[in-house]
């Protein structure tokens, strides 16, 4: 048994009483049969009569049901069938996921005209086919029942013609004062061109870009340092040492998918020549990026500048700061490593203070990052908002100096730090138009509403970074009476074209001819110097539906070697000349005062800025660190918890008081005169004086009763809005400030998804350090191997009385690399989308009824004040000797000859024995009919939560994958290894008279993963990647979870390696 200790919650760490009790109860809630308890049934007055009544009723009901005639079903073919569409066959189209400034090149799967799944576009060298949880979930927003369905003038439905005229008249009438176009960051060059036309047409008008979470600090610092009002491209793949000052670059900072792909390059271990990058994180609370770091130092948010100054000082920049102790030591050590890796290091900072960013620029200058890990040749376009412009606009609105305001993509009434002031100004503006897809807080205050298309219904282009284009093309005919924002703008600009024509003309002219334009639509991306002589990756002539599908899905990722083949040669990079005023910045930073207790706002990886809060899939994604869903809360340290509530989390009895129930104590936080009340979660690894709160929650319509109708049921009443706690320091919005916190005598339930899957102290994850691994690769898991060796040379065969079964042909297997898994949950949401998994809502999650087939388990280990975190994706292990299969009384779960643990819904009678007997806790039971699978409509209203009721509406059900059964109430389900994809892949091979190609068939989780941590394939094929990983490439790191139980899993993991000199994992007491 391993000496190392990993824990998921404090109860497990402390071996508390309640925890041990919980271990014994798989299903912890009471069964709903109070009136039928043992005593009651015998004392009841007339049980026999009742029995007869029930019997009589059920017989009569059965007779009625049985004698019903079969419903007549209609089959309605097309009148004129489009050539490229065949019912039952998916088409794939390249497009770009857009949300605020975020842009990810994607390929959209379309079935019978409906987009049902989003995959990354692997032709993009930036993302290499990676996606994020937000990107994966975006398809559900298309079928959002609360989308605006028609244009409105003063809240009344109007035709486009009428409203266009009203707008033209209104703009003319208010021409005396400037027209302002307020948008989120625009990455499209054609949109920008149209906006420029409008500005020319209406002199004095201006375009203000506004980001919910501002990157003004970086933009202004770069203006000061390099004379460029932009953000450069970062190249984490070229860095051997990565230092992040509070930047959550894998989770929410700038373009996490791109960074995750780059980051993974040097985090993959090649066992023959083990090497990996060093990642050092300075932060105030646990971010997902911090959880992946090799070293992590804690400081208050106000000390970020001081840390930067100290680091610059240690690098010889002549600056100094007041930090002391372990943090100062850490900075020194970090500086030494940076110097040693000059030209191969990168420092990034999440602060929005331009002065701090100037110092960070100076640090990057000192370590020679320019042109190596920072590229000024192709600055990124994800965020372009300047805080001062927005402040001016707010003032102008209040002063009545704006003639007309056109709003698109921006929602300052919700997410601006001075939202009330903005709303007041908006009401004063004589002419306001919103082009929002939804009735958000800002749109609610606008007079005219012309709803725009969802991006899946739109045309467009996105310039992710300079000269890296990605196309947007409609995958579905607009569902409602909506019109694309750009088309509406063209009307304002007085153009006769609609946007589609405009877009087409523009790009054909830019690319030279129509074939190149069509190639662009086909590939979806157009990159760098290839603009003029692009040779397309896909030959149009080869495109049969089947091969189109395979070109869209083939990613030959390489998890073993540190080399992900880029689609293009790495472009030339450029540095820029630094001319920032370091001493001035240093003076200003030194003046920053911190508080005793500080509050920091951050973005949750799923909800982000909150613009898509009505996405139930996202709400149900567990936060990677806290594992909480459907809420925001104040994260505090165990020290602060002790101070506030007198709960010593490391004391077994007291911890139970806090931990065992979903109800968490509430606190009052006062900051800048604003007060909020919210529950707390105690998370080790948080700085003792820091409170961290996620933004993006607490969406609420101006008319509060309309929140459910306007913003949506899934966002209604979820969490608290903390945007107003941000402060403006004169140049930038700062997302951390000093605050006071005090205890309230109230409790509030938080639905956490992990506390109920307890490992019983069994060694589930394996971890080592790079030094140990290099010294003794075989030492990893040596004890476990020895333990298994007692049974004979072949554990699978010798440790059982039963015969082993042949797997002729195919045996599917999966390998998950814990070293490159960053915990981002893209796989979870991809799985939800692919497999029609139910979303259950907060109450059901809190009583452990969550349905996700793949979850990311988070284990703390090591120092309890500043622990390490190991993420482990956990899904059905498809055991060849599965404990679940033996206990099913009706054989509804059994094994296939391809090694799949099959779950047969229509045979399942819902005993839940399998769930109880699964050592991995990956089986999920349908406690209610969440997806509307039942033949009686609406019989679950009132049973399922309000937040998820819309998911069984006809509109939302359009997102369901027609190849996967929608499970009814009362049956068990679990990961199927995406058996529908396996069957489709095999069928394609058979139709083409060939064997399956390795990498051709991918599970949804594998395909979604931005770091390619998941590998899947046929283990029986010696040439396959998965077989090579298991047999040679990753032999030493490979392990099976709970292998000693002889479950013979078909999923293996590769042990986590941390590049540190510390010992990882805390010692486990010998019991």
């Amino acid at each position: 048994m391993s000496e190392k200790k990993y824990w998921q919650n404090f109860g497990e760490l402390n071996k508390s009483e309640a925890n041990s009790k919980a271990l014994k109860d798989e299903f912890r809630e009471e069964l709903p049969f109070e009136e039928l308890g043992d005593e009651n049934i015998f004392n009841a007055k007339a049980p026999r009569r009742d029995f007869l009544k029930y019997m009589g009723f059920s017989t009569a009901a059965a007779v009625v049901a049985a004698s019903c005639e079969m419903p007549v079903r209609k089959s309605i073919p097309f009148l004129n069938k489009p050539d490229d569409m065949l019912p039952g066959i998916s088409n794939y189209y390249a497009s770009t996921y857009l949300n605020d400034g975020d842009a990810i090149p994607v390929v959209v799967k379309q079935r019978e005209g409906r987009p049902i799944k989003i995959e990354g576009n692997d032709l993009s060298s930036l993302t290499n086919g990676g996606t994020s949880a937000q990107c994966q979930s975006s398809v559900l927003d298309l079928y959002d029942t609360t989308r605006l369905r028609y244009p409105m003038a003063n809240r009344k439905e109007a035709t486009f013609e009428a409203i266009d005229k009203m707008i033209a008249d209104g703009l003319a009438a208010n021409a005396g004062k400037p027209l302002v176009l307020l948008t989120s960051t625009i990455t499209s060059i054609t949109t920008k061109k149209i906006i420029a036309d409008i500005i020319t047409k209406y002199p004095g008008s201006r375009h203000v870009q506004y980001d919910a979470v501002s990157y003004n600090g970086m933009i202004m610092a770069n203006q000061a340092s390099y004379g460029q009002k932009a953000i450069p491209a970062y190249h984490f793949e070229n860095a051997k040492v990565i230092v992040s000052l509070g930047a959550d670059f894998l989770g929410s900072w700038l373009s996490p998918v791109v960074f995750a792909k780059q980051y993974a390059v040097n985090r993959r271990i090649n066992e023959k020549n083990p090497a990996m990058s060093r990642h050092i994180q300075f932060e105030g609370f646990f971010s997902m990026t911090g959880a992946n770091a090799d070293e992590r130092y804690l400081h208050k948010p106000s000390e970020t500048g001081a840390v930067a100054l100290a680091l610059l000082g240690a690098l010889g920049g002549g600056t100094s700061s007041h930090i002391t102790g372990a943090l100062a030591d850490g900075v020194k050590k970090t500086a030494a490593e940076l110097i040693a890796n000059k030209g191969e290091a990168l420092v990034v900072c999440g602060s929005n203070d331009p002065n701090i960013q100037i110092i960070v620029n100076a640090i990057n200058e000192a370590i020679g990052a320019g042109g190596k890990t920072i590229d000024w040749n192709s600055p990124v376009n994800y965020r372009q908002g300047i805080d001062a412009e927005m402040v001016t606009l707010t003032d102008d609105l209040n002063a009545g100096n704006v003639g007309a305001l056109l709003v698109y993509g921006a929602n300052p009434v919700y997410n601006y730090f001075a939202a009330e002031k903005f709303a007041a100004g908006l009401k004063k503006c004589p002419f306001t138009v919103s082009y929002s897809e939804k009735m958000d807080e800002t749109t609610e205050l606008c007079k005219y509403i012309i709803p725009s298309h969802h991006w899946l219904e739109s045309w467009g282009d996105a310039e992710l970074q300079k000269d890296y284009f990605s196309v947007i093309q409609p995958i579905i005919h607009p569902l409602f009476k909506t019109r694309q924002f750009e088309s509406s703008l063209l009307k304002v600009a007085g153009s006769a074209d609609d946007y589609e024509t405009y877009f087409r003309k523009y790009w054909i002219e830019k690319l030279g001819d129509i074939n190149k334009y069509e190639g662009f639509l086909q590939d979806g991306v157009l990159e760098n110097s290839k603009l003029k002589s692009q040779t397309f990756f896909v030959n149009t002539a080869d495109l049969t539906p089947a091969s189109a599908a395979s070109t869209a899905t083939v990613v030959l990722s390489d998890s073993a070697t540190a080399n992900v083949t880029p689609a293009l040669a790495v472009p030339e990079m450029a540095a820029a000349i630094f001319k920032g005023n370091v001493s001035d910045a240093a003076t200003k930073i030194t003046a920053i005062k911190g508080g005793d207790v500080e509050m920091a706002l951050y973005q949750n990886i799923a909800i982000g800025t909150g613009s898509r809060a009505n996405n139930a899939w996202l709400q149900e994604v567990s936060d990677p660190i806290t594992k909480a869903t459907w809420d925001n809360y104040a994260t505090i340290s165990p020290e602060m918890g002790k101070k506030l509530f007198d709960i010593d989390i490391f004391n077994p009895r007291q911890a139970d008081k806090y931990e065992i129930h979903p109800e968490k104590p509430m606190v009052k936080i006062v900051s800048n005169g604003k007060t909020i009340e919210m529950p707390v979660l105690i998370i080790p690894g948080t700085h003792p004086d820091v409170i961290a709160i996620a933004i993006g929650y607490g969406r609420e319509s101006n008319d509060k009763t309309k929140t459910k109708q306007y913003i949506g049921p899934a966002a209604n009443g979820v969490g608290t809005n903390v945007y107003p706690l941000a402060v403006f320091d004169g140049t930038s919005v700062i997302y951390s400030t000093s605050a006071t916190i005090e205890k309230l005598d109230k409790m509030y339930p938080i639905a956490q998804s992990q506390t109920h899957s307890i490992t019983e102290g069994r060694p589930v994850v394996r971890e080592t350090t790079l030094t140990h691994f290099i010294a003794d690769p075989e030492g990893l898991g040596k004890e476990e191997k020895e333990e298994l060796a007692q049974y004979g040379e072949d554990f699978a065969r010798d440790a059982t009385l039963y015969p082993t079964f042949d797997k002729p042909g195919i045996k599917w297997g999966m390998s998950i690399d814990l070293n490159t898994c960053i915990g981002c949950s893209a796989c979870t949401v991809a799985c939800v989308a692919e497999n029609n998994i139910s979303t259950v809502g907060k109450y059901e999650v809190s009583r452990f009824h969550d349905m996700q087939w793949i979850r990311i388990d988070r284990y703390f280990t090591g120092n309890t004040q500043n622990p390490d975190i190991v993420f482990q994706p956990m899904l059905c292990q498809q055991c060849d000797n599965a404990p679940c299969e033996n206990v099913c009384p009706v054989s509804a779960t059994n094994h296939s000859s391809e090694g799949l643990n099959q779950m047969i819904y229509n045979r399942c009678i819902g005993t839940k024995y399998c769930m109880n007997n699964c050592p991995y806790k990956v089986r999920r039971f349908n406690w209610a009919d969440w997806n509307g699978a039942d033949s009686f409509p609406d019989n679950q209203r009132g049973i399922i939560s309000d937040a998820t009721t819309e998911l069984d509406s006809d509109l939302a059900r359009m997102v369901l994958n027609p190849d996967v059964t929608v499970r009814a109430r009362g049956v068990m389900e679990k990961c199927s290894f995406c058996v529908q994809r396996l069957q489709e892949g095999k069928l394609n091979a058979k139709k083409e008279d060939r064997v399956i190609k390795d990498g051709e068939i991918q599970t949804a989780c594998m395909q979604a993963c931005p770091t390619h941590a998941i590998m899947f394939g046929n283990v029986n094929d010696d040439g396959s990647k998965i077989a090579k990983i298991r047999v040679e490439e990753q032999k030493a790191r490979k392990f099976y979870v709970l292998e000693q139980l002889h479950t013979l899993p078909n999923v293996n993991y590769l042990a986590k390696v941390r590049n540190t000199q510390r010992e990882v994992g805390s010692k486990k007491e010998i019991i």
């Binding site: 079969m70 079903r73 089959s75 004129n80 296939s896 047969i904 819904y905 190849d963 929608v966 008279d993």
Partner: protein, 419 residues
């Protein structure tokens, strides 16, 4: 003793019917076979089809040997003989094919069979309900066995009754007191027996019925347009895949869109073939059906343009599988090389389509158990996909077996169809 005699009479009645029906069956079978081989496409024994009903034909005809002449020379008689001319008029101008090969005694056999024909399902005239099933043509002997069992059971009961009566008599003789006589319908032993028998029967039919819920073998709904597969696929030999192209590429065979119909029907405005007769004997006005198609398509056959907005045709779906079953046509048609008729029956002979197969799981599984996979051999025949099953190839080479069934490569595993 009265009871016994009554039972005896009943048994006799049953046995009597059995004896009078049996020779009929044997005799009628020749006539039936001849009828099916020669006449069934245009005649029905008891109702008007293309031609008149054959039942009672001999009585209607002008003379006893008229029919022998008629069958041999239809083409000449139709223009000379007044009765034949009348028939032609009744049949809408369609003239019967000449069957010069049919001998007199064969014609007699057919007509005799038709005269004695009883519609299946309807009780034979005069027979009580219990024996009605016997009259239905049945090729297996289960009815006979059932009847024998019934008779034996009745005999057993009679003997039991006799035995108990005799015992009573001897008991009386010996002076042993016996409980008072109860009528048999109040005898608990009998009642129990009846209850058990009822329970077994009811249980059997309930389970059978429950399993059949949602199954629609034989389902033949009326469609918005009378589309005859017999005309298109049968007479005109249009390939199934011309319209149902999805069958080789996709999960769904798919019903063709209206524009596919119009590919041919722009030119084919009129139906000129054999008259199409519904199963209930009514005539289909094929030209009116084509006009319906034009209406759906929005096609004006005179100006040869689509001058009206069309609308899709709402066909009634015949083959329905439950939502938890995944079935892929291309797997069977393209990969498995299964003929359409294997599952859909002789579709090229159907007017309106009828569900041929039960589409039950047992039916699927049975086929998967017996069908061989297109395993590739040394000569490169078969599908190369299966080359990964090295062990099976080895075994075939070593002559352990010569073919591999779908079941053997996992074709009966749950998750091949349920996911």
């Amino acid at each position: 003793m009265n009871q016994i005699s009554r039972l005896f009479t009943k048994t006799l009645v049953v046995l009597f019917f059995l004896t009078i029906i049996s020779p009929e069956i044997l005799f009628a079978q020749d006539g039936e076979a001849l009828f099916k081989a020669n006449c069934a496409s245009c005649h029905k024994p008891d109702e008007k089809y293309v031609g008149p009903a054959l039942k009672g034909a001999r009585e209607r005809e002008p003379s006893k040997d008229w029919v022998y002449k008629w069958v041999a020379n239809t083409t000449t008689m139709v223009n000379t003989d007044p009765y034949a001319m009348k028939l032609k008029q009744e049949a809408g101008g369609v003239v019967m094919t000449t069957f010069s090969d049919l001998k007199k005694n064969e014609i007699d056999a057919i007509l005799s069979w038709a005269d004695s024909y009883v519609k299946p399902g309807a009780p034979a005239p005069g027979a009580p309900g219990a024996t009605g099933a016997v009259a239905a043509p049945s090729s297996d002997n289960s009815v006979l066995y059932g009847l024998l069992t019934l008779i034996l059971a009745i005999i057993g009961l009679v003997l039991l009754q006799v035995n108990s009566n005799l015992k009573k008599l001897t008991d009386e003789k010996d002076g042993i007191k016996t409980p008072p006589n109860v009528p048999f319908y109040r005898n608990k032993a009998y009642l129990l027996l009846v209850v058990i028998v009822l329970f077994v029967f009811a249980g059997y039919f309930l389970v059978e019925g429950a399993m059949g819920l949602g199954r629609q073998q034989g389902y033949q709904p009326v469609q918005p347009i009378y589309y005859s597969h017999a005309v298109h696929a049968g007479v005109n030999q249009i390939s199934c895949l011309y319209c149902h192209g999805g069958a080789q590429d996709s999960r769904h065979a798919s019903i063709p869109s209206v524009n596919v119909c119009m590919n041919c029907h722009k030119a084919i405005k009129e139906y000129t073939g054999e008259p199409i007769i519904r199963e209930d004997g009514t005539n289909v006005n094929a030209n009116a059906e084509i006009q319906k198609l034009y209406k759906y398509a929005g096609w004006n056959p005179d100006s040869r343009t689509y001058d009206k907005p069309g609308k899709p045709i709402e066909w009634v779906r015949i083959h329905n599988l439950p939502a938890h079953v995944y079935f892929n046509h291309s797997q069977h048609v393209k990969v498995g090389q299964v003929a359409c008729q294997t599952c859909h029956g002789e579709i090229q002979k159907m007017g309106e389509v009828k569900q041929f197969a039960p589409l039950s799981m047992g039916w699927c599984i049975n086929c998967h158990r017996t069908t061989n996979v297109q395993f590739n051999d040394d000569k490169g025949n078969g599908n190369k996909f299966y080359s990964i099953y090295e062990k099976f190839h080895e075994d075939i080479k070593n002559k352990k077996y010569d073919s591999v069934t779908v079941e053997k490569i996992g074709g009966t595993e749950c998750q091949k169809c349920h996911y």
